[in-house]
Symmetry: C2
Subunit: 384 residues, 2 copies
C-alpha cells in the first residue's frame, strides 16, 4: 500500500449567513484526493473535504503535510490493509507540541482521505472500519441525529424561521438547534417561543447555539435566567473556548446542559476542557470536530481519553455535521450526529440512501465515507 499522488483545491463556502462571531462571505474549504496503490486491488482514491468555519488549508497542505505524507513508503498496517496511522505519524513529525489551530484542519482533511481510501480498500463503509478498529465491532444500529438550522433571516423574520423548522421536522428529525445570541436575550426568547409549539412545547427537543456571546459570568447568568424556563436540550458555545472560568461559573449556576468544544482542536485541549471547565459528565456535551482536530486518529484518542475520565460516549457530539463525523458517531457509538439542514449549503445533508425517522438515521452501506453519494460534495470532488 503506497501513496501515488495527492491533489487538492480550495473551494469557496461563501455564504450570506453570519453568526455572533464571524461572517462567512469569505469562508473556504479544502478538497483533497489521495491515490493509493492498493496492490491487487488496483488504485483507490480517498477524498477529504474540510469542515466549516476554519478556512481551507491549501498552504499548509502543500508546504508541510502533503510532502511528508508522500514521503511515507509502505502504508500497510498489521492487518494487511491501508493504515492511516502511518500517514498521521509522518504528518506530525517535526511539529512542535501546542499550537493546535490551522494545522489541525490541514492534517484532518488529509487523514480523512486516508480513512476514506482505507475503508474503500476493505470494501466497507467507514463506520464499520471504525467499529472494528476502535469499538470491538460494536456500532449504532440506527444513528441518533439532530438537525441544525435556524440561522438569522433578513429582518429577523420569525415566520421564515418557523417555516424552516417545520420543514426540518417533516424530514424525520425530533430535535433541532437554532442560532441565538446575536440580538439580545429578548430576541432570543422570541425565537425560542416561536419554535417551541412545533416541538410540542418540549424544550428538550430544542438546542440553542449562542456562538460565544458571553464575556462575563454575569452575562452567562443573565442568559441562564432567560433560557432556564424553557428546559432546553442544551446551550451551545456560551463563551470564549479557552475561558474555563466562565464555563465553570455557568455550570455552577445553570442546571441544564452545556455543549462546547468546537473551537478546541486536540486531545490536550480536550483534556483541559474536561479538567478545568467545570463540565458535568452526566449532561454536558463535548463537540470536538474530528475533521478540524487532526482527523480520526486523534479523535479516536480523544474518545478514549473521555472514557478514561468517566465521560460516556453519549456525551461526545461532534460539531458541524460532516459526513466524516456521521461515521465516527455511528462506528464509535457517540451521542448524536449534527446534520446541517439548510438545503443551499454544500456541507448539509447526509450520505445518499440514508433515511431518517424518529430522530435516527439508517447506516450507509457504500464503501468509504460516501462523498460519491452526496451530490453537492461530489460535484466539487469529482474533478480531483
Amino acid at each position: 500500500m503506497r501513496i501515488i499522488d495527492i491533489r487538492e483545491k480550495t473551494v469557496s463556502l461563501s455564504d450570506p449567513m453570519s453568526n455572533a462571531v464571524i461572517s462567512f462571505l469569505e469562508m473556504t474549504a479544502s478538497a483533497v484526493a489521495i491515490d493509493i496503490d492498493a496492490g491487487e486491488k488496483g488504485t483507490v482514491t480517498g477524498y477529504g473535504f474540510s469542515s466549516v468555519g476554519r478556512y481551507g488549508q491549501s498552504g499548509l497542505i502543500n508546504e508541510r503535510f502533503a510532502p511528508r505524507l508522500k514521503a511515507v513508503g509502505d502504508m500497510t498496517g498489521a492487518d494487511g490493509g491501508l493504515d492511516p496511522v502511518h500517514g498521521w505519524a509522518a504528518m506530525m513529525a517535526n511539529e512542535k507540541p501546542g499550537g493546535d489551530g490551522d494545522r489541525a484542519g490541514a492534517v484532518g482533511v488529509l487523514d480523512m482521505a486516508l480513512w476514506d481510501a482505507a475503508s474503500k480498500i476493505e470494501g466497507i463503509p467507514l463506520w464499520q472500519l471504525l467499529s472494528e478498529r476502535y469499538n470491538g465491532d460494536n456500532a449504532h444500529e440506527r444513528v441518533p441525529v439532530y438537525a441544525s438550522g435556524g440561522h438569522y433571516y433578513p429582518d429577523r423574520d420569525l415566520t421564515a424561521l418557523v417555516e424552516e423548522i417545520r420543514g426540518i421536522l417533516d424530514q424525520g428529525f425530533e430535535t433541532v438547534k437554532i442560532k441565538c445570541g446575536q440580538y439580545g436575550l429578548e430576541d432570543d426568547c422570541a425565537r425560542i417561543e416561536a419554535i417551541l409549539p412545533l416541538l410540542g412545547n418540549d424544550g428538550s427537543r430544542l438546542a440553542v447555539d449562542v456562538n460565544c456571546m458571553c464575556s462575563t459570568s454575569g452575562e452567562t447568568q443573565a442568559m441562564a435566567d432567560a433560557y432556564a424556563p424553557y428546559d432546553l436540550a442544551w446551550i451551545e458555545e456560551p463563551g470564549h473556548p479557552h475561558d474555563f472560568e466562565l464555563l465553570t461559573a455557568l455550570t455552577g449556576y445553570y442546571d441544564g446542559a452545556i455543549a462546547t468544544g468546537e473551537n478546541l482542536f486536540s486531545m490536550s485541549e480536550t483534556y483541559n476542557l474536561m479538567r478545568y471547565g467545570g463540565l458535568r459528565a452526566d449532561r454536558d456535551l463535548i463537540q470536538i470536530d474530528p475533521a478540524l482536530s487532526y482527523g480520526v486518529v486523534e479523535y479516536a484518542n480523544i474518545v478514549r481519553l473521555a472514557e478514561a475520565g468517566d465521560w460516556p460516549r453519549s456525551q461526545m457530539v461532534p460539531h458541524a455535521g460532516h459526513l466524516l463525523a456521521f461515521h465516527t458517531v455511528a462506528g464509535l457509538q457517540l451521542g448524536a450526529h449534527e446534520m446541517a439542514a439548510r438545503p443551499d449549503f454544500i456541507l448539509s445533508g447526509l450520505q445518499g440512501g440514508v433515511e431518517i425517522s424518529g430522530g435516527k438515521a439508517t447506516l450507509p452501506d457504500v464503501p468509504g465515507i460516501g462523498f460519491e453519494t452526496h451530490g453537492p460534495l461530489w460535484a466539487v470532488l469529482a474533478d480531483l
Copy 2:
C-alpha cells in the same frame, strides 16, 4: 497612511540542529515586506521575519491575512502616525476564537512589518515607540540579555560544548542557556558540570532547556532531583505546553524557577497557563514569543494581563531571541532578552551597533526594528 503592497517569500532555516522534540532540517520562515504610503514622508517599507520553530506561513499569509490587510483603507492612528492596531483588527476579522497556532505566526510576522514601518515613519527605534505607547515613556537603559546555545554536537562532544560556552562568555554575557533532555539525566548532568566551572560554579548563571522531555510527574521529580544540586537559573519547557497538571506537580516539588510558554500563542492561552499551571510569579518565567503570538498588539495585551495577575514584567522573557523580542524587552522593560549565540544561524545575534557587557546590551538607535543592520537577515530581506 495606506498600505501600497505586501510581498513575502519563504526562507529555509534548514539546520542540522535538533532538540528533544523535532529536527530542524526542513524548518522554514516567512520574510515579508509591506510598503506604506506615508504621505509627506513618502513610501516606507516595513519588514518582518518569522521566529524559529513553527515554519513559514506563506499559505496563510496569501490566503487570508495579506488580502485582509490590503483591504484596510486608512491606517492612520489618533496620533497621526501609522497605527498597526488597524491592521491587526482587520487581519483577525472573521477568525473564530481558539485555534491559536499557525495563524498566530502568520499574523505575527505581518504585524511585525507594520510596527517596523510605524517606527520608521516616526524616525525612532521600535523600542522607543513601544515605550511611548505602552510603557509611559519608560524603557530599560540597558537591556538584560542572556545567550542561548549549547545544542548537541556529534558524539555529544563536551569539549566542543565547553569551547562554545567560553566563546559566548567572551562576548560579554553573564548567563547562558544550554539544551538538555535528549540523552537522559546522567548525560544532562555531565553537560551541566562541564560548563559550571566557566561560570564560577554559580548555577544561577546557567539555564537548561529540556524541550518537553517529561511526560509524567515522576519524570519531573527525577529531573528536579537531578538538577536541584546545581541551583540553576531555570529549567525550561519541562513538558507538553498544555499539561498544567504536570507543571503544577513540578512546581510543587521543585523550589527552583521554571520557564515555559514558548508553545502557547495567545492571551487566552497565557491566561490559562497563569491560572492553572501552578506557576509562581516571584520566580517562574513566561516565555510567550511575540513574533509567533499574533505580534506586538497581542503581546502588549499579554503583558498587561500578566501585570493584572500580579506577574511583574521581570518574569516575562520572550522565547527565541528575535530582533522584535529585543525591542519588546527594551521598551516594555521585560525580564531579559534571549540571544541565540550560534554564529551560523540566521536568527542569531542582535541589531548592528548593539554592545554587550556585564550581561546587558545597549539600546539600538536606528529607526524601526533594525533588520537593515543585521547582516544575515538583511541579506534575505533586501531583495523583497
